[in-house]
Amino acid sequence: MSEKYDVIVVGAGPAGVTTAYLTAKAGLKTILFERGDHPGAKNVMGGVLYRKPTEDVIANFWKEAPLERHVIEQNLWILDKNSVVKAGYRTKAQDQEPYNAFTVFRSRFDRWFAQKAVEAGALLITETVVEDLIWDNHFVVGVKTGRPQGDVYGSVVVLAEGVNSMLTQKAGLQKDGLNTAQLAVAVKEVIALDKEKIESRFNLEEGQGATIELVGDATMGMMGTAFIYTNTDSLSVGVGALLSQVVRQKINPNELLEHLKNHPIVRPLLEGGETKEYLGHLIPEGGYNAIPKVYTNGVVVVGDAAQFVNGIHREGSNMAMISGKLAAETIIDAHKIGEFDERALSHYQKKLSNSFIIKDLKKYQNASGFFETNDHIFSLYPSLLNKAAEEFTTVDNVPKREKQRRIMELVTSERSKLEILRDIYRGWRVMG
């Protein structure tokens, strides 16, 4: 095929669509490949989309994009077997335009988003898998799709292929591949529930949304979190845990989700709901240390494929979009000088390093390793906290000093003061 593109984007998720949208808008001849039936068909996320990073790509998107509810309340629930300690933040400030975050369905949002890229001039080719890169003298000059006569040539290939980063590995940018300690497996159900029920159970008015992140018994003590997000007339309920732990403990992710749904504290929220969809996906949780080299001659890597996920802060799609944007800026500059070699594309790395993406991932670079090897943090402490709360809330004529002593005794019977101090110190080191 003689036709040549300025930009070939592999994957129409938030990262790839962002790059395609911006390069097409800048007048670059852009082709965007998606293996699914439509953009979003193969993508999964819990369901919170942040306004600011999205608006950095499409101004006022929230006025027309398919969104569910705007989030005004975010909660953290620390679960034990029969109890929960809650923390949360609710604000009227996020109840007004332009809002802070929204609950969304990827399959609807990505479809809309990709349509924007098409309107900007990008060519969207769905149901087409990109299987390999085409090399010419250490330069990537195109891609091979799985279709007959499927080779396509371009100046630069943007790998937005998602967590299962086969092409990034084939490009030699991720030499060791992926390992199970760097991946989480997440499963989710969309549970249909009457609008009115959602609003009364979560104390919301029309259009308002709430999120709950759950730890502790929610993941049966494994490193991971669970979540419940309110959509317009459904709930997204899911749980994610580190793949290595799921494998080690021989727990099927679906069992985790059933455990969560049947938890005595969670169940009443879901009562009467009907499961509409079941989704599962891998999440790259390796953080800073797992980031591959994100550029080479004729290639840049964006989004999940580059491991841009901040598991601790529930961020991923925002990093995907911003990395997609930084890649687009780099490509547009490179196009001006007509050079797409490592040197020209290394500006992408510089932009990333100056952005919150690398700064945040660096900040937490030792966190997942720490939690992975100290999984008692996800089992022991939530339980202790709940026991302490139980003691504290029970009025039974015991003097308060005695109660404090009992709590301390309870805590230190499970873990020595020295160990606790060490956990706090290390926890602070990796999180602070």
């Binding site: 082709i31 439509h38 080719i125 149901e127 087409t128 007959p148």
Partner: protein, 272 residues
């Protein structure tokens, strides 16, 4: 040879449900697809084009978003597509739809006369199987329904020889061209579209013809031209489990006798 294929956009029936209270189809949020029989019709037309030369034009009546099925047809290798789209067409039943499509095909034929028209045997949303025969009747050309296999086309003599799928048998038949065929899925295997077709389809913008472009009489289109009234749509009742006559292991003869008696009583088999 000029092959014209009629295609329809339908809701993906694997995802459609019937509202138990109103007995209507819940179409909301259900993805649209090309009617599966029509896809095989396009495939066959493209194969014939590859064998005998010529051109494949697809034509559809529907709302603006129905241009998706035209694009899908381009992926399969169709050369051109025309969308008949006008608010006045809304609410057309099979009578009105076959009229609008006929008028569209007549207009197309002014430019390029056709040799063969393809339709799917029926659409999976209405299942009426009337539009194809309706077009043939209006155009006064032979109609060949349930086509299973096209043996050959004689380009010089303008004839076609093909097989029709009938109950328990197949009919081998010849006809003069131009003719209209309605096809079953067994006719062919859909191809995995080559990338250049995918790219052409992504770029393709079909011609849209409205009541301005084709000659139609107002009382023959849309609701005005549609005498059909739908009284009720309902999901077929779920099949109940069959009756099992026990004892086959121990006493097969006696059990077989009981079975025959039951079948006779239900008049499923005849006595002699």
């Amino acid at each position: 040879m000029h092959f014209v294929v009629c295609v329809k956009q339908v809701p993906d029936s694997s995802e459609v449900r019937v509202d138990p209270e109103t007995n209507t189809l819940i179409r909301e949020g259900v993805p649209s697809i090309i009617n599966p029989y029509d896809a095989h019709a396009v495939e066959e037309a493209v194969r014939l084009k590859e064998k005998y030369g010529g051109k494949v034009t697809v034509i559809s009546m529907g709302p603006p978003q129905a241009e998706e099925v035209i694009r899908k047809s381009i992926q399969f290798g169709a050369d051109e597509g025309i969308l008949l789209s006008d608010r006045k067409f809304a609410g057309s039943d099979t009578l009105a739809t076959s009229y609008v499509l006929t008028q569209g095909i007549k207009k197309l034929a002014e430019r390029e006369p056709f040799d063969l028209i393809f339709c799917g045997k029926q659409a999976i949303d209405g299942d009426t199987a009337q539009v194809g025969p309706g077009i043939a009747a209006r155009l006064k050309i032979p109609q060949l329904t349930y086509v299973l296999n096209i043996e050959e086309i004689n380009v010089e003599e303008k004839t076609i020889k093909l097989h029709r799928k009938l109950e328990g048998m197949r009919e081998v038949i010849s006809a003069k061209l131009p003719a209209l065929l309605t096809v079953v899925q067994d006719l062919n295997e859909l191809r995995y579209a080559p990338l250049p077709n995918m790219i052409r389809a992504a770029r393709y913008r079909p011609q849209v013809w409205t009541t301005e472009n084709i000659e139609v009489e107002d009382d023959k289109i849309g609701l005005n031209g549609s005498p059909t009234a739908v009284r009720k749509i309902f999901a077929p009742p779920e099949r109940e489990g069959g009756e099992i006559i026990p004892g086959g292991q121990e006493n097969p003869e006696e059990t077989a006798r009981k079975l025959v008696e039951r079948l006779l009583k239900e008049e499923i088999i005849a006595d002699k």
